[in-house]
Structures are given as C-alpha cells and as structure tokens.
C-alpha cells in the first residue's frame, strides 16, 4: 500500500469540496478518478489489471446507481447532458469532445498495436479437486476417507509422533527446501525459476485450508499428477512417490503442519443424514 498515493487521492477529493458550484456529476467523476488513481498506483505490489478492471466496473455500476436513485440528480444529469449536446454556448466544447474522444480511443489503439502482443496468459486452477483415490506403490489410498495414519499418534504416543515429525524434517530439508524455502514461505533457492512459484506453506490459505490427504496427494503425484483442469502442467512439483516411501511422505506432511503451526483441515463430523457411508 502506497500511503502517499492514498493521501493524494483523499486530498484530491477533499479539494473538490472547496470547488465553487460543484455539482453531482463533478463528484462522481472525482470519486471515479480518485479510485482509479488509488487502484492503479496506490497499491504495492500493483493489482493485476484484470482485477483493477473488475473493481472499476463495480464502482461504475454503483455510481450510476447513485445518480439515478435520486430523481433530482437524475434529472439534473440528464438535463446537463441534453444541454451540452444541444445548446449553443456549448457548441465549441461539444465539438472539442467529439474530436478529442475518438482521438483518445485511436491513441489507445495505437499503443495496443505498437506495444506488440503479450505472451499468452495461462491461468490455472490453484487448488484442483483431488481424485477419490490414488495408487501409491501398488496400494490404493482413499483420499475421501483415509487420514494421515500417523496423525493419531499425536495424542496416543507423543514420542513416536515426534519421531515421525523429525523424520519429516529430514525429508523436507533433504528434498523440498530448494523450492519451498527454509522457512516454507515458497521462496527457496530455485523458486524464482519456476512458474507457478512454489507454494507458500506459511500462508494461511494453503495447507491450513486442506486436509492431509490432499497434501499427500500433491506430494505423491506432483505436477504430472494434476487433473486436466490444472493444465498447463508447468508445476515443477516432482512426483515424490518415485523418491520417497509412503511413510516418508506422510511424515513430511506432519512436519509441514508442525513447522508452520497450522492445523490440517479436520474431517468434519456430519450432523444430519445417516452414517452409512
């Protein structure tokens, strides 16, 4: 967030208050412009243009609603527009607008054409739904119902659990650290070379939102095991089933949660309905 820009936008709006004979149209333009400036330059790192566009569209809708939700405002705006288009004293201004607007549009087109096209955008689904079950080393793991087999040790046998976590720590720092980073913030040594960049486990919206089965699936099957909705498969996540044993993969899952202090999403008990499933 760039405080200076925010302050400048606010100051601009405040200044409008002191403009004599300020009318509703002026206010709307002022608000729109201030928001535009803030969204465009006031946020650091900058918002993607797609999001800027969406926010401005919502704002435009709101401002239109505002002006037409009051008949006096609406009539005023309409009158002004009609007056601008028809009355003699605005003829020069009207002509200037009629010339200037198409020129601006043409200029925009000029920039679009000369800037050259941008590389194709690839959008991919960040959290694709996991399959119902996966096969690891000939064993079927039911991702719907199976839990981390060692999670229960946390309460039953803390010493054994600590051993599993320690093993997970070893696995992590031997295998995962180059991409996911020493502090699991997704900023390892090689993170800058991959797109998408490695997941940030410290972020409350990654592993904290997911059950351990999901994490296990991502570890075991890696980028090549993503479903078709997550194409293109640029993910550099290896299919760890080729390197690690099942136990090691569960252990490293335990360690991820242990290190970041997150808790895996719990399997919820179902309130209504039968329990036959």
């Amino acid at each position: 967030m760039n405080i200076l820009i925010l302050l400048a936008a606010c100051a601009g709006l405040l200044a409008l208050r002191f403009v004599p004979k300020m009318n509703i149209l002026g206010w709307l333009v002022g608000w729109w412009a201030a928001t535009f400036v803030f969204l465009r330059w006031g946020i650091n790192p900058p918002l993607p243009t797609s999001i800027q566009g969406m926010f401005l569209a919502i704002l435009t809708l709101s401002l239109l609603a505002y002006i037409s939700a009051n008949s006096a405002h609406f009539r005023f705006a309409l009158d002004r527009a009609v007056a601008f288009a028809t009355e003699k004293k605005y003829t020069v201004a009207l002509l200037v607008t009629l010339i200037l607007l198409p020129c601006l549009v043409a200029l925009r087109v000029y920039f679009d054409v000369t800037e050259g096209p941008a590389p194709p955008l690839s959008s991919r689904t960040i959290h694709p739904p996991p399959p119902v079950s996966i096969e690891v080393a000939g064993r079927t793991i039911d991702l719907v119902n199976d839990d981390n087999p060692y999670r229960a040790l946390e309460t039953e046998d803390p010493a054994a659990f600590a051993e599993h976590v320690a093993n997970g720590r070893r696995v992590y720092y031997e295998n995962c650290v180059y991409c996911h980073g020493d502090d699991m913030a997704g900023d390892g040594l090689f993170a800058h070379g991959y797109d998408p960049i490695p997941a940030n486990f410290q972020d409350a919206t990654t592993i904290a939102m997911l059950q351990e089965g999901y994490i296990f699936w991502r570890i075991a099957k890696g980028g090549p095991g993503l479903p078709s909705e997550s194409t293109p498969w640029l993910s550099a996540m290896p299919a760890w089933e080729n390197f690690l044993t099942e136990e090691e993969m569960w252990d490293v899952t335990l360690f991820l949660y242990d290190f970041t202090g997150h808790r895996p999403r719990a399997r919820e008990d179902h309130g209504g309905g039968g329990d036959g499933h």
């Binding site: 959008s123 000939g138 078709s228 080729n242």
Partner: protein, 273 residues
C-alpha cells in the same frame, strides 16, 4: 406493445451481460482422468504410458520390484532394465528377455536373487498379451528405448489368448469349472507360492506354510486369507498380502467352495511333524 418490446430487449441485454461476465473468467474444460485402455492403434509411446500404469496398478510389479536405482531390494531393481535387458541373456534380444521373464519368470534368475515371481500371464495377475506388451514397452523405456508395438509377436503368446475379448470370455467360461480344482491347483492358480512356500521351511516374502496345519487352526487360516492384516507374523510387512490379493482380484474370484478347498489343503501341510 412498446413496453413489451422494451422489456424483451432489457431481458436479453441482462442475460447477455451475465454471459459476457462469464466469458471474462478463465475458461477451462476439465476432462475425466484417462483410463488405461489398450486401443488397437496405440503407438509405442502410448504403450509405455499404459505399461507404466499397469506395472504400478493391476500388474502389481512394484509390490516387489523397485524403480529407484537402489540395489538390495527383494527383487531386482528395474531402473535400468531397458539398458541391461539386451545383453542379460545370451541369444535373447531385450524384448525376448523381458517377455521370457514375464511369461516364464523362473527360467532365468538374476544373480543374487531367489526365484519367486509368478508368471504374470496367469491368474491371479492374469494380464493378457496386449497388456504384457505394454509392460514390455514400459520396461524398455526404463533406461532404453521402447520398440515394441501391439503387433509385435512373441513366441510365448498363446493362440486363444491373443484377443482381450477372447481372454475375458475364456476366463468367464473357466469360472465354474474352477470349482473342481484341488487345493494344490488352487494354491498354484492364485500364485500363493510366490510368497509362501509349502515345501520348504524357509520364508519367502511371507511366512512358510510348510507346517501350516500344525501352526494354525482352520479358523486362523481363514482369517489369515480373508483378513491378512489381522495378525501379521513378526519380520513380515503388514499390508503386503492384502494389497497383493486386492490388486489381483483374488477376493472377487475366489468362491466359498474354493476357499474351503484351499484352507483344507493348507491344514494338511504338516511338514514339521
């Protein structure tokens, strides 16, 4: 009328607006995950992929073999099998060697390993010739270059086994008659001997059943077959047998009559006394 027209236009515009908004979000088609199906016109590359899937799934190869490059496993590691297959056995090309070790695995045993693999063309794994070709293609690709296609002919291939459909019909037809098999035949058919020996007291992958009749009650034998993980003898891996039996479809195939015959057969094994 004018009103009705205006409303019409308005409705269309609003619907179009929402359609437009929906075109603005990422457009992605999600296809169902692909099933391994062996089409008649599969290329060698597709065979490699299919074979990999069979090897880790239905074929249960990875229960015993590893593909990590580490030596010292139960069965030979397959990481470079495509490379070494060509000159492993004199007079055999790599395809021939691989085929032999799949159809007739105990014909050649890699030094340092015990015989124990079951022919994968037979029940319970029961791969048909096409699937075996896919597995060969996959094995060749490990360290080498896959060359086989579905048209590759091997001398191990059986006449009646050549078509997948025929194979499935044959097994369906064979179903009822299997009721009359003896316990020994069942033991062989379900490849129990891969992991359990009935002739020697030495354990293979699973405990020896040399003295099963004395060691276990009939009830224990039933349990050991139907729920292998209930009691696992020390030094043996839990889950291995159930995974193997599940993967080969043992529980789907065996009938209660066969089960009884098999248990009775095992209960007769009293080699220790």
């Amino acid at each position: 009328m004018m009103n009705a027209l205006k409303i019409c236009v308005f409705t269309v515009l609003v619907a179009a607006f929402y359609s437009y908004v929906s075109q603005m979000v990422p457009q992605k088609v999600t296809y169902p995950p692909e099933e391994t199906e062996l089409g008649a016109d599969m290329t060698t590359e597709e065979l490699v992929v299919a074979g990999e899937e069979i090897a880790s799934g239905k074929g249960t190869c990875l229960t015993c073999h590893t593909v990590s490059g580490d030596t010292g496993g139960r069965f030979p590691d397959l990481a470079n099998i495509g490379l070494v297959a060509a000159d492993r056995k004199e007079g055999f090309s790599d395809v021939e060697y691989l085929a032999e070790s799949l159809y007739d695995p105990n014909e050649y045993i890699v030094e340092g390993f015990l015989p124990g693999m079951t022919p994968i063309s037979d029940p319970p794994i029961d791969l048909n010739d096409q699937e075996i070709l896919a597995v060969i293609a996959y094995l060749q690709s490990l360290g080498g270059v896959a060359t086989v296609t579905l048209d590759t002919e091997l001398r191990w291939q059986s006449e009646e086994n050549s078509a997948a459909a025929a194979a499935s019909q044959a097994s369906a037809a064979a179903g009822p008659s299997a009721e009359n098999l003896s316990g020994e035949e069942l033991f062989a058919m379900y490849a129990c001997g891969t992991c359990h020996s009935v002739t020697e007291p030495t354990p293979l992958l699973g405990p020896s059943l040399y003295n099963a009749g004395n060691d276990f009650s009939t009830a224990e034998l039933y349990e050991a077959i139907m729920d292998p993980d209930a009691v696992v003898a020390e030094e043996f891996t839990a889950g291995l047998m159930s995974a193997q039996l599940n993967a080969t479809g043992f529980y789907d195939k065996i009938s209660s009559g066969q089960l009884k015959t098999l248990v009775d057969y095992l209960a007769m094994q009293k080699g220790g006394s």
